[in-house]
Homo-oligomer: 174 residues x 2
DNA sequence: TTGATTCCTGACGTTGACGTAAACTAGGGC
DNA sequence: GCCCTAGTTTACGTCAACGTCAGGAATCAA
């Protein structure tokens, strides 16, 4: 409901002839391809409030910049790596966005008490995700350990067998 | 299509009065509760071929043993921790089941060549999953590292601020 | 200017992983 | 035997996360 501000230049300074190649604003197809998702997925993410393209063409077509693409990749990581659903991811991204706002306020304010508050909140936001990732990583590490242990046993048994067959083999080349 | 062999005792030696308390065969409700899932989920897993209860009552009701419950928990781990869908999990479990079969053949055979083959296949099966887990764990570790780094920065900034406010505070107790 | 692509907005379809309701049966306590 | 809870199958419902199609407008190379 807050999209389509009045047509064009909705995403701040577009500067068509200003930005160099790296800072290009690309259409949805290219952004999708770069991030390894479909265009439909990007529209869906937008509908859910996960990502608003940072610009639009004069005709109203979505334009994504590098940060947008990075955000998409980030969303995918949160999804596939951590198993969050898109609702949870929305909340996480909000937290991260808030964090950016806090960072700006932090820099522009010299009020010590307020700065402390900001740091505490930022730390809390960050720590929530950290603990989730940590626990998941822990469990995965445990799983990995048992798998590697097994793998080592197979290797050991194979080595023993190599010795046996080598000993039992009649025409051993060496 | 291969279930319901002919009614009862389809799950091998049931031995109702034989097993002690730990080896009990429990009905679906209890098994579900123990594993933290719903009864529907267990029937669904069975339909997909993920898990056949190791016994049935004379009337045809499912009976699960401890290994079954462990298998359910395992399925859930593969699902939530590694993000596999139930089809992939079916394949993985098949591999693991094959592995048990191979283990038995390994023990009953003394044929060196065959033993080598078995070890190689087992090792391969095991290694496939291991590599997936390893890569996931790697990526998670990376994510965790950056989060912890951030957390450390917040902590440092907070500590600095503590010093400042303590110094600026008029009635400082110390 | 003109096609050929690409993008737009609906809107309906699909897939996975179950939830839920209905109608019926099994099993254990009194 | 009776009753109540828990189990059975069958079938339709649901929710997330998109896929896909229709009809029209925008963009771009020629």
């Amino acid at each position: 409901m807050a999209k389509h501000v009045t047509g064009a230049e909705a995403g701040g300074t577009v500067g068509e002839g200003d930005g160099a190649t790296p800072g290009r604003l690309v259409p949805i197809g290219e952004a999708a391809e770069r991030a390894g998702v479909s265009a439909r997925t990007l529209r869906w993410y937008e509908e859910l409030g996960l990502l608003v393209p940072s610009g639009h063409s004069s005709g109203g077509a979505r334009r994504y910049d590098d940060a947008d693409v990075a955000r998409i990749v980030h969303i995918r990581e949160l999804q596939s790596l951590l198993g969050f659903d898109l609702g949870e991811i929305r909340d996480i991204l909000r937290g991260e966005d808030d964090l950016v706002g806090l960072r700006n306020e932090y820099r522009s304010r010299s009020d010590g008490t307020r700065r402390r508050e900001i740091l505490l909140e930022a730390s809390s936001i960050n720590d929530k995700l950290r603990s989730v990732v940590a626990s998941k990583q822990q469990r995965l590490a445990g799983m990995l350990a048992t798998l590697e242990e097994k793998q080592a046993r197979y290797g050991k048994l194979l080595a023993e067998l190599e010795g046996e067959t080598a000993a039992a083999e009649p025409g051993a080349g060496r």
